[in-house]
Subunit: 134 residues, 2 copies
């Protein structure tokens, strides 16, 4: 995979523009880690940097009394997290175009960090160029 | 479905917390409508208001020379649009919890507005409370 440009804010993809969309449900997550923006943002920022994804901007919303929505716009597409601490539950989406590896790495890091008791993962293929084969 | 609170920024859901995630690919879209943030934002803002979804914040990114990423954080979860005008393609995600109708309405309005020549739609169920049955 050859990236067409290395600079942030410009789309990264190679000759084949195939998207991967990881949709995951984490259950049995420690509610303390997912209740407030302040804690969750620090965790997610670190994971995204480690995974090799490229953030163009991010947005967070604190629900009251608890619960967070977090969206990272990436040069590769987006990563979103919605948490319901009252159910020890978080919903994750990682949608990237180009190389699958950063998305898969981010997913591994999220598992390692939040240690969910139960994980449901679905992978959707999104083919940007031409017909969708999935 | 009884909403627990009507105010913006507070989560909206009833006794059953079932999420719907509409994942869609639009092909054959007029590139002019999806090239620049300025145009796309006006269109999307109108559709979201008409659909009955509740925006808590939004974020847009202009790719150069063209292409847009748009994310709306909703009290119901999120709506995202990524466009590749060079392929007349846009990738849509509408993930909401509670009543399915605003998400389905938003999807109908997106179809009516962008008039894609080809649509691929996938619906994923995301059950926040308890086990995921899907």
């Amino acid at each position: 995979m050859v990236y067409i440009t290395p600079s942030s804010g410009v789309r990264r993809y190679g000759v084949s523009v195939m998207g991967i969309h990881i949709i995951a449900e984490f259950r049995g997550v420690d509610p303390k880690k997912i209740s407030r923006v302040e804690e969750l943002q620090v965790i997610l920022d670190k994971i995204i940097i480690k995974s090799g994804l490229h953030v163009v901007s991010s947005k967070f919303h604190q629900f009251e009394p608890y619960g967070v929505s977090a969206i990272y716009l990436l040069s590769e597409s987006h990563l979103s997290v919605h948490t319901w601490p009252e159910y020890s539950y978080m919903a994750l989406d990682i949608f990237t175009c180009g190389d699958d590896n950063p998305a898969l790495k981010a997913f591994e890091l999220l598992i390692a960090e939040f240690q969910p008791k139960k994980v449901k993962k679905r992978i959707i293929r999104r083919d940007v160029i031409g017909e969708d084969k999935s």
